[in-house]
């Protein structure tokens, strides 16, 4: 399996670390909505087909990447930087947004 890093080009999967499901939405750290936290920690869409996931090019430029990969064929249809993506599944993004709001 090759992942095309936007910086480094196509590299073998051994250079990358899987950071898990990119569909999950982390509740606000101050949230006391237990259901939302449980869902974030335990529940997965686990689709057979295109899957949004997070990989880190840990053996290369070390950037975090948002990858769409097919779980039936291992075919990768898109790779993009996580950076600037204040969206779903970005661990800590809610905390960062909050910090940015204050500054």
């Amino acid at each position: 399996m090759l992942i095309t890093c936007p910086y480094c080009g196509p590299r073998d999967v051994i250079e990358f670390t899987y950071q898990g499901d990119g569909n999950r939405e982390r509740p606000d750290p101050a949230s006391q909505n237990f259901e939302a936290w449980n869902a974030y920690v335990y529940d997965r869409l686990n689709p057979a087909g295109d899957h949004n996931e997070i990989w880190q090019h840990s053996g290369g430029c070390r950037t975090h990447l948002r990858v769409v990969r097919n779980t039936l064929t291992h075919e990768i249809s898109s790779v993009a930087f996580m950076r600037g993506d204040h969206g779903r599944g970005d661990h800590g993004s809610a905390a960062r947004r909050k910090a940015e709001d204050k500054s």
């Binding site: 051994i14 898990g20 499901d21 449980n38 920690v41 335990y42 997965r44 869409l45 779980t71």
Partner: protein, 419 residues
Amino acid sequence: MAEYSAFSLLANALKGNKDWKPAWRKPDPKASYDVIIIGGGGHGLATAYYLAKEHGITNVAVVEKGWLGSGNVGRNTTAVRSNYLLPANTRFYEHSMKLWENLSHELNYNVMFSQRGCLNLAHTPAQFDDYARRGNAMRHLGVDAELMTKAEIKRLIPALDISDDARFPVVGGLMQRRAGTARHDAVAWGYARGADRRGVDIIENCEVTGFLRDGDRITGVSTSRGDIRAKKVAVAVAGSTGRVMQLAGIETMPIESHVLQAFVTESLKPFIDTVVTFGMGHFYMSQSDKGGLIYGGDIDGYNSYAQRGNLPVVDEVMSEMLALFPGLARVRMLRSWGGVCDMSMDGSPIITTGPLPGMYLNCGWCYGGFKATPASGWCFAWTIAKDQPHDLNAPFTLDRFHRGLVIDDKGQGANPRLH
């Protein structure tokens, strides 16, 4: 009289072996059943067998999308053990072990269960202490366990590198003597024949494409061979649980599907007569009766429904093998393959009623489902027949994650790729 016996072998041999019956029929699906079991693997077939034998429920269909036993029951590395730390797991897997010990006799089918022992190697004093703790926990619940010294291990496995300059020197190990291996295909075939002879319909090449519903209640399945109605629909499709539950409208599960690879070498003369596991990585190996070394390691580590893996894990598994057995460097690998595992959020399975009315769920076996086959079928049959779990599977609920009652033997947290 037993269908397979020395006498029946002789009698059939004299008659030119013309009178053997197929081990199971190939029936067409009926319009309705009392129970439909989705998945003709080890767990589904064992469930059908125990439903018929223990609970007298014989109007049962097992529907299988491929051929019987084409999934994980024929893809595992055949180890059977009950060396867990937490009581819920220990009790359940020990019940399984006791069923294994009588399985060939029970099924009148030689599953070649061989209690050759399973040795976990420790490579640091701390790990050895941890194994002592687990061994004590096992013995506390009546399961056999013994610590082994380096010298004892060397006598048991002469080919193992126990020198002090090994990459990860062996300090000792934890042995379960009653653990071992079984012939996995025979387990599927034996349960299939036992269920078939009691009236269960095993319907192969019959893929479930949807669920029939009356409001929330599940009342049957749509399949590639037509609609089939049932009072109870049981799902035993570990590896494909996500796909099948999505057909029932359940969008999320505490499960990720991952691919696990396994390997076999060319046949060798007797080399190792136990199951051995590496403690400084993830590697396990035994030798089949044909002589091939059967071994495997970690899952590939990313979500996958493909029954094939990638090269980094192949490389890692081979390195681990050579760290333990440098003498195998020139042995050729014959075949490798992959199977899809339900990796649950705590490494433990789910055997429960629900989550919808009329539905029963058996899943989340991670990569330890084969050894559980008899107890999984036994407990699932109980749960289906009585509409409530047996004490042995009562902890393995689906809602335990949201209720904070996880059973995390390895202590890895909700990180399925690490279990």
